[in-house]
């Protein structure tokens, strides 16, 4: 439980979808997550994948993992998934 407590859901925004025909967003997201977490299974990590209109994903990350991701060349920003309100 403590391990989980160190994690929260972050949104990893990666900009527009690359125009390359062979680009496979889900595989890219998975490989990034495996690389950053050092875990082969990302089942408990990946929350959502944005792959139809723009690029990015949402995942349960620790703060240090967030920092690593934010510095990646293919990442625009990594930020907490906040609660929003109806207005």
């Amino acid at each position: 439980a403590k391990y989980d407590q160190d994690k929260q859901v972050y949104i990893v925004y990666m900009g527009a979808l690359p125009a390359r025909v062979d680009y496979m967003p889900m595989s890219h997201h998975t490989s990034i997550l495996q690389q950053v977490t050092g875990e082969s299974s990302i089942e408990n990590r990946l929350v959502r994948s944005y792959k139809r209109s723009f690029n990015g994903f949402a995942a349960r990350l620790t703060e240090s993992e967030r920092e690593i991701l934010a510095s990646m060349e293919e990442v625009v920003s990594v930020f907490p998934s906040k609660k929003l309100m109806l207005q």
């Binding site: 900009g15 527009a16 792959k51 723009f54 920003s77 609660k83 929003l84 207005q87």
Partner: protein, 627 residues
Amino acid sequence: TTRSWDFMGLKEGKKTKRKPSIESNTIIGVIDSGIYPESDSFNGKGFGPPPKKWKGVCEGGKNFSCNNKLIGVRYYTPKLEGLPHSARDNMGHGSHTASTAAGNTVKDVSFYGLGNGTVRGGVPAARIAVYKVCEPGIFGCTGDGMLSAYDDAIADGVDIITISIGGDSSSPFEVDPTAIGAFHAMAKGILTVNSAGNSGPERSTVTSVAPWILTVAASNTNRAFVTKVVLGDGKTVVGRSVNTFDLNGTKYPLVYGRSASTSCGAASAGFCSPGCLDSKLVKGKIVLCDFELNTDEAQSMGAVASITKSSRVDFASVFSFPVSALSEDDYNTVLSYMNSTKNPKATVLKSDTIFKQTAPVTATYSSRGPNAIIPDILKPDITAPGSEILAAYSPDAPPSQSDTRHVKYSVATGTSMACPHIAGVAAYIKTFHPRWSPSMIKSAIMTTAWSMNASTSPFNEMAEFAYGAGHVDPITAIHPGLVYEANKHDHIAFLCGLNYTGKNFRLISGDSSSCTKEQTKSLPRNLNYPSMTAQVSATKPFKVTFRRTVTNVGMPNTTYKAKVVGDNLKVKVVPSVLFFKSVYEKKSFTVTVSGNGPEADKLMSAHLIWSDGVHSVRSPMVIYAAN
């Protein structure tokens, strides 16, 4: 809604010119708390199959079916205890906004007889696609779910997105899910309309700040619900609420919360704070509460009604039993009657509606500018009806706190209700101009708006920071004459000026180019925006120049002349005459504004109007000083 469309001139049925077949091919994406599919407002009768361009799906969960009106649904919320895991609306909010934007025309609708009329959306013949990202209680709405909704809505092929969701403060674009989703929607030709927020009237409370979003403030309409309180001495005061409960004129003993507690101090008891009222002292009486959000505490202790003080009497809310919310003066009138009478009595009448001559006035709750992230981009952009809007609701959600009723139509208030009005108008304009870009539609809505002015009410005193370009006028917006265009490339250049350079520029734009030197030096206020705003130093002499380009969408061979309305800014427009030989021809001009800066926290404004004698294209110019 039963009144707001008439208020702004979009009359029912044949009285308004429409493009039925194009409207039927228009899809509005609603990112909200889901929908009540069985509502008459979303009935598919009379609709043909969904438009060919539609790529969405109907994945609403168990016992949820779509139709040719409600053509698609997805949900991104987890299974919560006690709630069906589906796209069903457990809050009423999603059904309300969807019906306001594009609901069917449903006659003879009211809220227990109040506000009777024909409920309809801005484009009743359009289709609705729903993306559920919110659930009641602490779950709320999540940023990651919202981005999935955008990701799908854009790819599914909606034409307009309406999203009445926001955070508690504004954020830089790259960490703002609404701004991110709306940017990629804009890049695909989809306009996103977003509520400004309900944190007004304080300054800089608008949470929707991106220039590629159409940000909507809320006003009242010319119909208001009022609720009379009749005192034992015959005196009557008029309060606000949507009170459907009828005490039949019976007068009940009055008791002040402050003297109806055996467990709290005077102040909390006066507020009727939870746990403070003693049922033995309030049962069968009308309780005075200093705070309108605690009236259900009085109800739970057996009171028959409550009269409350409210600092916000410019709108009426639904309550779960008879309530009237009074201004401080009127509340004090009741208090002094009570304190000076041996057996004080009163009654609360069922609400009725009155005509508000002064509408539109910006609502107190509507978030204000200036734009905390980009000071030189005016927010909000436009104003639309947001108060006391009667529209579809979900019977699975209570119409007010502690309410045991189940209704299919209810009255709600907030910039959430203003937003779908603008989405409906945007869709309406798009049926006349199917090829117009999001920025052209936005410009048409802003430059044709009714001007509002600070003097009509203290709530307007922040002028353009309260109401933006003014109140939407859908009929005029179809023929704006000129529009200010800003496409993806223009917004990318705008981002360069904000130091989105290098990696971020490359990723967001999706192409391998990088910011040119000129783009990097571009000023945010030179984005081709339908309003012109600059923050200057307080009281110091200033001189700022805005560069703008307008596109002729009116008639060929037409001459527009510039006029400046409002005299507290020195304005020079060059050139001041624009001749357009053809339609879609573009002309550029500069506007130089100079003078002494306003005092800190104050703004000075004027309006630039291009007119060819037929069209009047009005842009607010706002100069303000931060504190």
